[in-house]
């Protein structure tokens, strides 16, 4: 075992925190989506770390499914961004208040 599992999980925790911060703090929709990718990568790291720690391949399989779901999420998310930008060009996140009561 080359890499201690605790170190991988710590790295994953730090990366997840950075992703949460980016998602909540940025004002650009595309950069918020990118922060989600950072969080998904952190989760994949911890899954691979557990897979190595418990010598069980299921962690890697689940990480593969996470990557597939991330690809689907990116396709739909960026399609939404394009549709949004067509309907009200130049809108930031703060301007999208139509659903606000």
């Amino acid at each position: 075992m080359i890499v201690p599992a605790g170190a991988v999980l710590g790295l994953s925790a730090i990366l997840f925190g950075i992703g949460v911060f980016g998602f909540l703090a940025r004002r650009n929709i595309i950069l918020m989506l990118i922060s989600i990718e950072v969080m998904l990568n952190a989760v994949n790291l911890s899954l691979a770390g557990f897979s190595q720690h418990f010598e069980d391949l299921r962690g890697q399989v689940i990480a593969l499914f996470v990557i597939a779901v991330a690809a689907a999420e990116v396709g739909v998310g960026l399609g939404l961004v394009i549709a949004l930008n067509r309907n009200n060009p130049g809108a930031g996140v703060a301007d999208l208040t139509k659903l606000k009561w």
Binding site: A13, F16, I18, A25, A48, E55, D56, V61, A71, A83
Partner: protein, 172 residues
């Protein structure tokens, strides 16, 4: 500390640095390039963890496909006012606090790994041999149904993206 462990710590430090830069840069294209650096470093960590196929998928799918898609959309939308706008909302201290909370919680939960039952060896469904062949056997054996569902999900996502991004047809 062997040189492989040193490599891991280099990759870990570099990925934390590039993630921080990615969420704080003002120019979206610079952010994308830092995320590319993050993806490549994470792929290196996957290699060290014995997940070769995951590393390849990380480079091909994440760095190759997903990131190019993001860069396409950034260039398509042409965000000229992005540079002038403040990059963070007013709520950013709160966001930093929430991120720190999440990181601390996950960091504390890490302590439980030490007491978890140590590598019991092998589960019947998916023995760990670290090879691509065993991963393929797991994917098409016990995980065949989720695998097919994932392909269905990707098909739904393709159709959804086409429908969402399509220009409305002019009324006849």
């Amino acid at each position: 500390m062997t040189w492989l462990t040193a490599t891991f710590y280099y990759l870990a430090a570099a990925s934390v640095a590039s993630a921080l830069l990615a969420v704080t840069r003002k120019n979206p294209v610079h952010s994308m390039l830092w995320v590319l650096a993050l993806f490549l470093h994470v792929a290196g960590i996957f290699l060290l963890l014995g997940a070769e196929f995951l590393a390849a998928v990380q480079v091909i799918v994440y760095a190759g496909a997903i990131l190019i898609f993001y860069i396409f959309v950034v260039m398509l939308l042409d965000l000229p006012e992005e540079e002038a706008r403040p990059r963070f909302g007013n709520q950013w201290p709160l966001a930093a606090a929430v991120g720190l909370c999440f990181a601390t919680l996950a960091w504390l939960a890490r302590a439980g790994v030490g007491v978890a039952p140590a590598a019991t060896g092998v589960t019947a469904e998916a023995p760990f041999q670290g090879s691509l062949a065993s991963l393929g056997m797991a994917l098409f054996g016990p995980f065949a149904l989720p695998f097919e569902v994932a392909s269905l999900l990707l098909l739904a996502a393709i159709i959804g993206a086409v429908v969402l991004a399509r220009r409305k047809a002019a009324a006849p």
